[in-house]
Symmetry: C2
Subunit: 683 residues, 2 copies
Amino acid sequence: MKKIILLILFTSFFGALGYAQSALASQYDLMPWPKEIKENSAKFMINSDVTISINSDHSERVRNVAIHFLRQLSNKTGVFLKEGFPVASSQANTILISYDEVATLNINTNESYTLEVNNETIKIHANTDIGALRGLQTLLQLVTNNMTSYYIPGVTITDTPRFVWRGLMIDVSRHFQPINVLKRNLEAMAAVKMNVFHWHLTDDQGFRIESKVYPEIQELATDGLYYTQEQIKEVVAYADNLGIRVIPEIDVPGHASAILTAFPELGSKADYTYSIERNSGVFDPTLNPTLDSTYEFLENLFTEITPLFPDEYFHIGGDENEGKHWDENKDIQNFKSKHKLKTNHDLQTYFNIKLEKILNKLGKKLMGWDEIMTPNMPTTAVIHSWRGENEGLANGGSLIAAAKQGYQTVLSNGYYIDRMQSVEHHYTVDPIGDVTLTDAERSKILGGEATMWSELVTPQTIDSRIWPRTAAIAERFWSTKEVNDIENMKKRLATISFQLESLGLTHIKNRDVILRSMTNNQDIAALITLTKICEPLKIYARNKDGIEYKTFSPFNLFADACVVDAHDASNFNTAVGNFIKTPDTQNTDSLLSYLEKWSSNYEQFSALALNPKIAPLEPLSKNLSSVSKHLAQAIKTKFITSSQIDEIHNTLTALKTPVVDVELVILESLNQLTNYSQTHFTK
Amino acid sequence: MKKIILLILFTSFFGALGYAQSALASQYDLMPWPKEIKENSAKFMINSDVTISINSDHSERVRNVAIHFLRQLSNKTGVFLKEGFPVASSQANTILISYDEVATLNINTNESYTLEVNNETIKIHANTDIGALRGLQTLLQLVTNNMTSYYIPGVTITDTPRFVWRGLMIDVSRHFQPINVLKRNLEAMAAVKMNVFHWHLTDDQGFRIESKVYPEIQELATDGLYYTQEQIKEVVAYADNLGIRVIPEIDVPGHASAILTAFPELGSKADYTYSIERNSGVFDPTLNPTLDSTYEFLENLFTEITPLFPDEYFHIGGDENEGKHWDENKDIQNFKSKHKLKTNHDLQTYFNIKLEKILNKLGKKLMGWDEIMTPNMPTTAVIHSWRGENEGLANGGSLIAAAKQGYQTVLSNGYYIDRMQSVEHHYTVDPIGDVTLTDAERSKILGGEATMWSELVTPQTIDSRIWPRTAAIAERFWSTKEVNDIENMKKRLATISFQLESLGLTHIKNRDVILRSMTNNQDIAALITLTKICEPLKIYARNKDGIEYKTFSPFNLFADACVVDAHDASNFNTAVGNFIKTPDTQNTDSLLSYLEKWSSNYEQFSALALNPKIAPLEPLSKNLSSVSKHLAQAIKTKFITSSQIDEIHNTLTALKTPVVDVELVILESLNQLTNYSQTHFTK
């Protein structure tokens, strides 16, 4: 029986993958975890003789990524390679890449590959060049070392993705993101095998794409912050080179403040002064769906910009139109009566269907947020599921409903990374879960997208809001459902996160930049300690009613230096749990190391010359120090007085109130420890 | 008498500026130091009411920089401004900017401004919009704080530059630098009032500019790393917006390996296989100056690209042509005889004069490195002085010679920042020095340029090689000659350096990125300690004969994490000097703090899991620890044995040999301390 129980325990970690897979996942920090991996006894040494050889020069993608691979390998290992570019003929110490055909990127692209590491050669084979790219990313993650050398351990991997749509959406409207920000994030996406960049190009806060037909757009709706058509092409080509499709989103008919600033005559409310929005939220400006000129405008615009985006899918937004300006406009009401459109939803469906015809003419498939899934909407549209419990619906419900109704569909509910929730939260959202689907229904579920809405992020902080959590989401989309062990994921994620930094991501290094700025370049150690146990307020609590932060507010504050999944918090929480369960020397020491660090941290904090940016953190640091000191003392002496317990409780209460838009995420554990001390150490 | 001596001391610091100026320079961290600054008792508070108002909307430059100023102000202070954009009418708490005219950038642009800070208003006035930009940069540097608020202290500044040409050259051939690298460096240049970006676009290692007339260039001479013409325009517009001129350099007839890879028929040696160069140094491939096709090619190319660069000056390189392939080519020798060109210099002058005619037709002035200054070269050319003692000439000699011969001229000798020499070295190079010049001669000396050759820098490390030293060079070019106090410069530079980080520069933060990569994300504290006393090998010693590092070699090694002017070295050297002079408690403690840090650092280092990148540093860390421990012990106990002294000397000798391309820059001080210990503490 015992053996069976053990087996059940292991399979609950790795399900169908079984024990061997589980052991390997402790050993190799691969993410996303491949479909199948076997070990052999080989070792491919990384020395200066290593070369790459490609079976064909038809794919620019493979050649470019292979060159980049050589640079990354060299930088990672410090090895001075003799050959910095792919060589024609294979020899010893060669990485042999072969593929059968060059793919055109679409939802049917074959991304599978095999990877075989032997002593003298590494073979990556794939049906398409895209599969070869995916294999090279896995290979880079396999590089490891001992004291004297870097090498790639002998493995054979057979890999293929679970979902065909593994996306990241970046909102460049609320805060404009220059193309170098996009490029480094595309590199990171490719590193974790994501394949769709959804570019949320327009919203109330700015319309970010140059139009030559309507230059009023960039003149009036962008604050000068937009992509030229050449830059759009540059990003699309960059993404394609990495095997990533680009889906543009032009959000209509709502979220239209910016575009109506340039073209107020297309708005639903007469004599309304439209202006670029500076706050966050859902706003009233909406295109007028009853005007021919609206469709003429959109057709001209779409005709101009669709050639920039070779992908078949085109996102028209369609979300969060509350129809207030439609209700207030008599002509629109009359139009509804005349066309027998009972509700504003019907009117929007009328609008969407007109748009779909325009897009179809241009060879595009219409995609929209799940509000577009109305009874009359043709199933040729693609439903982007985003609403859930917060909007009064079942989480992910619109995804399943869409699939059952015959719509292609993509899930973002559960992957809203701007809500600043833990990686665990997102990782445990499975697009399908336990729902039973027919093959036809299953085929409609394309995959998912993490969404980086940018109300609260700037180019300086966006990476730390996307990464590393999105790597775990990427695994959810690529790997089988059974790859779901959270602790193992976190272990691998820690390695992947640091490796992503080598692509130029700023998610780690910009913390210190912000802290240096906050302190006027004083010693930031005391603040670093605090960032490791403080997290930014979650689920939009940071920007109450959307008006605390405007688009031009400062975003290099303490909350911007803090990240989700604060580094010390989860370890401390574990340490407290262990100690309470087994208060032996090891668990006691482990716990005390945290308490003593926080206890003494206030002294370091106090050495700082205060200024208005640091000063508000002073009570937090002081209170944390006080609680930590008392608890450490109690644990060391096994004694604490009732009045000290009272004092701790009071201090913990004070610590509960968030300051400077962060919350201390170890309060629950400190509370447990206080209760434990009360029970065990008061006499 | 005493008073007079004091006065002499002070004026030796600040010369004609006198005592008041000196005191202010201790107080305000402005760089470059303005021509005239006076204090008043006002304080302009930074609160949410602060606005900017501009007297005219004719200058896009002022509007854009003013918006950027508001963002920087907000980020620096954490103040949530109510108005994120310039406002039309002035009111209380307003920064009033006014200028008389919009400048076209050239060497005659008036860059002067006045700045007046009062309690309720700040007034920046300038003759041109460019002067207004310069004033805004000074204003940002004035922002300061106390515990409770940020404010701008009451001052009146009248400022104007000493030289009209204050440049930074970036070589994008040896290592390609993407445009975001250039943009952030342009921002930094503007912050220290530099006004010329010299773009070294071509060399043996790559020709980095797209040609539509000769697409073979990007296909064969770039490895795919080049700027499209749209990107060139983007950078030029970005620079212009900051008041920075852009001077392109197409280096001919030497440094031509890349271009001859695409067009071997223009080379001087028949049947030679040209290829993009991967090593560093001076190479033989040279354009053939006797062929009509060479001039036809250059005329077509220049005709295509000169419209991208509105500036009048056009740099044709002209340096380091050793003429080996000319000597080996009979046709070229015959051509020389026929045209009575005695030397290869004469032949190159023939070439240069033909080029000048082509450029003149295109409205451009020819500029070249100082080899072009041959007896027959017309004085319409501009001489870029670079050679000095290392090339067997007087340092800066060609600058003065050029001016005296009537050439416009710019100095780079002494400002080769890729030589990895101290900021002090560059700061003390004055373009004119004590040479007496007529007004006419003086007017020919336009200014100077720091040169960032890129054999050993990548996008990851280039910022830390340019900054902060270039800010001190910028001061040399802007401020009066009498602003030359080195200690005061270093104090101000420390502040400016950290402030530059807010522009996105990576010169500080990328150290830790490299160290994390080296250690596989272990604790980097032990390595940070070493980076603060180690510097990369200087004056090209790192890349012996130019062949140790190829363009594709790794550049994220320990040497790449280290910088010139290592942080702890100069402080330690001072501490040793102080101790030897006055071994009191304070000086002893100060010294011991360093020795004890290094002594214990080996323990931290030893805790690292070694790998091939860290292992070579182990002896350095160990030896440093041993020496530090012995010396600390000697100083504390006032006793050391002769055999210990011998041991120290042996260890210091071992430490003298550079490892991993860095040198320990505290050896001289450790030696002094050892000798002191021997004299005072052996019994």
